[in-house]
Symmetry: D2
């Protein structure tokens, strides 16, 4: 995949005594490099699309674009979705909190479209993902194949019935009744490993945390939500964006002891 | 390093018709394994401290503790500090947003006590860190040595005067006048790489973003703050903690094009 | 004005073993009581619109509605707008913080569509409002007349040039360069009275607060923002709404000494 | 009651090329005007305490203070407390949302130390407050007497057993099982009036909202929380305060139809 960035253009307007944005930066994702790519700012030829990352190319109507090679995260954001995926702030926090890296083994459930698996596979040694829905498994496998990741295994199986893997460093739950997966996670996690529950609902979070508190094999660490607030900054303008802070989910962390 | 977890103890009190927490979970960090470790719940012998991770041991007054091997993040949280370090939510978001992993090269400044370098060294291929303060450089090197990391180079040098490295995937700035480092970052980053500015002050963030907007080699992506809100959940109690949401810093992301 | 509330209707569906919402509650504002009122749920006759507050009436297609007399706040929310008006959380906080009531004299600027004046006139003894824009003054006067308020005076005049009133309890600023109004507010406020600046921009807030700090006749009390987060609660569903927390403005409070 | 404000003092220090705060503004509350008042900045004579609001007086060691008459809110903040009281942001929002003013009749429960009653009595025509705890009733009556308010009646009685008043404009609940008071509020409120539940716990809020949804005499309007974030602004420093955003309570609004 490639990205096309429409180059922004500003001009100082004497009459107004300030700079005006004539063209706003715009980002386009180009999935098919075998064809010309059309935008409202003109057509970019397939020859130009293949140029080196960072090249400036012109559309047929003379607008300037930057051609960019897609990075992992660009591709990750574009995977086929079956439902909402965890945001980068939440998944980044889980990864940091659990301290996983290239030596780590991760299990996640439900697979969904595979987003969590894909993120952790990029970061870690191996990922095993559980989902009972064959449609999810199919979409996830397709996404994984498209990104060329070799270290993910997707299993069409309920995590509630057990995790086959042992010595797991991190288990990530993103499913409707997470408290039902605690016993499976207990057996799969190494001592010191983390169980993390992501849930949009406080009710499910309450059920999960209370169940963890009754399991002596886990230390409940904390339940948090990360609220991301975006700011508009432009010259003398500096304020939080009106759009606001959207809710994603509650994160509950527990450590296997 | 080891962790000692005081095992919590609850009991159902008939008269109250509910469970009461008799002993609250407590975490102790044991840096020195050559000596017995004293707590207000009794002394743990050095012999017991060396037991396998997950072992339950008893203090001399009979209280039960779990012995845990320290993970990377346990050690990271305990490094010697010269000033405030970036929180896991912020550093985790930077890592996720930039999509760095074991193949990535990262530059950061100022080094401070080395926390950012250490986190990225755990995750990435190599890290180079700049700081003009010799005291910081000294503390950071000590911390890095204690954690046994081999892939960090700390340079006592101003990042404003230039970055020696090329083809860098991510530059992280955590210093008072981040806009002064933009030109150095521009030369060091590969096309598609990320420049991230972390600043507690909105005033410095405004200066940084406005400078980025005037540099055609960067696409300003966004400025956000992550607010972490912690919840207390215990039986029927479920509410955000009174302590509240503390401010850490504003994160501004820009992409090199 | 009247309100029409479409009565919600739920039914227990045996096959699903749960209640389903068949008709969702809906609110309609009826400004003209001399005509029948049409909705997608049928037409309500003008005769029915005049029924006592709380009466249940039926549309011509048999849907049930509740007729409600409009309260002050219903009318307030429906005033003609020239720009964004302060939200109830912000204006309610200003009123509470300054402790104004039926004995208080309030000055505000700029008038805009008159919303702030109208709110404080509902609560206080008298309000004087300043705006240099004749279009604003016109719209505000119309809104004030429609609500039947007699205790507001709107002046087409710059507050920067001075406030005619003395012994004012509260001055509320909602305009682009609030620091220019500090000197006028200083002369108008009684000792112990409050000057409050509402500004969407942090940059203007910074200018205002720094100017207040250099004026010995004011004690800077605090600068805050109120973030309103809305929750969806329905049966087992309980989570913050996705729509999120929108930014309104920063509130800076100073006390005249 | 009087307030004493220690006058802040800044000085430009040539060597540092900037202003330094030598004395920070400090606020003292003086309850007893028949005696001299001691502070760490010296003693203020009782004669000086009686000077006109806004007078500058000197302590026996020459520090300057401003004498200020206490306003309603100054006194309100100083009432004797039996437990946490609702914050001004929350109570101000309730007042604004319900649109109450000098013509309104308000009922609240539990009375606690009387803070809610006192606030609404300052704003409205009359307030009736219910509490089953005789200690609370005693403290509340004392506070009410000290503030000289004549329009509050405190009843030592459970609101769950019914509200004696009719045609009430606003019922405010701040008690552990608010859903038990819905039926009493239903009978007391006029059509169009508001029932507001304040609760620190999401669990109680869920119970309340679900009960309201099953009562056809109420329209559930919304459940929100107001998060107050405080900023530090001083010269070039401008950032949210570290202390952070503390949780107070969830507010649920319902309208009687």
């Amino acid at each position: 995949m490639k990205l096309l960035i429409l180059k922004p253009k500003k001009e100082f307007i004497k009459e107004l005594n300030r700079e005006i944005s004539l063209i706003k930066m715009k980002k386009f994702y180009v999935d098919d490099l075998t064809r010309d790519f059309s935008t409202q700012y003109g057509v970019i030829s397939k020859k130009d699309l293949k140029k080196k990352s960072g090249s400036v190319v012109k559309s047929n109507i003379g607008k300037e674009f930057i051609v960019l090679d897609a990075d992992f995260i660009d591709n990750y954001k574009r995977i086929k979705r079956t439902s909402q995926i965890m945001t980068l702030k939440d998944i980044g926090y889980i990864a940091a909190y659990a301290g996983v890296n290239k030596t780590s083994k991760v299990v996640d459930a439900g697979t969904g479209c595979g987003a969590n698996s894909i993120y952790f596979a990029h970061l870690c040694k191996e990922v095993v993902s559980y989902d009972i829905n064959p449609d999810n498994v199919k979409v996830a496998k397709e996404n994984i194949k498209n990104l060329g990741l070799k270290n993910i295994k997707v299993k069409e199986k309920s995590i509630f019935k057990g995790i086959d893997e042992k010595d797991v460093d991190l288990v990530v739950l993103d499913l409707p009744t997470p408290h039902n997966a605690i016993s499976a996670a207990e057996k799969a996690l190494r001592v010191g490993g983390y169980l993390v529950c992501y849930s949009p609902q406080i009710t499910q979070t309450i059920d999960f945390v209370n169940a963890i508190k009754n399991n002596p094999k886990f230390i409940p660490e904390k339940t948090v939500e990360l609220m991301e607030r975006s700011w508009k900054i432009d010259g003398l303008i500096a304020r939080p964006r009106r759009g606001g802070i959207g809710h994603t989910g509650f994160l509950s962390f527990a450590r296997r002891v």
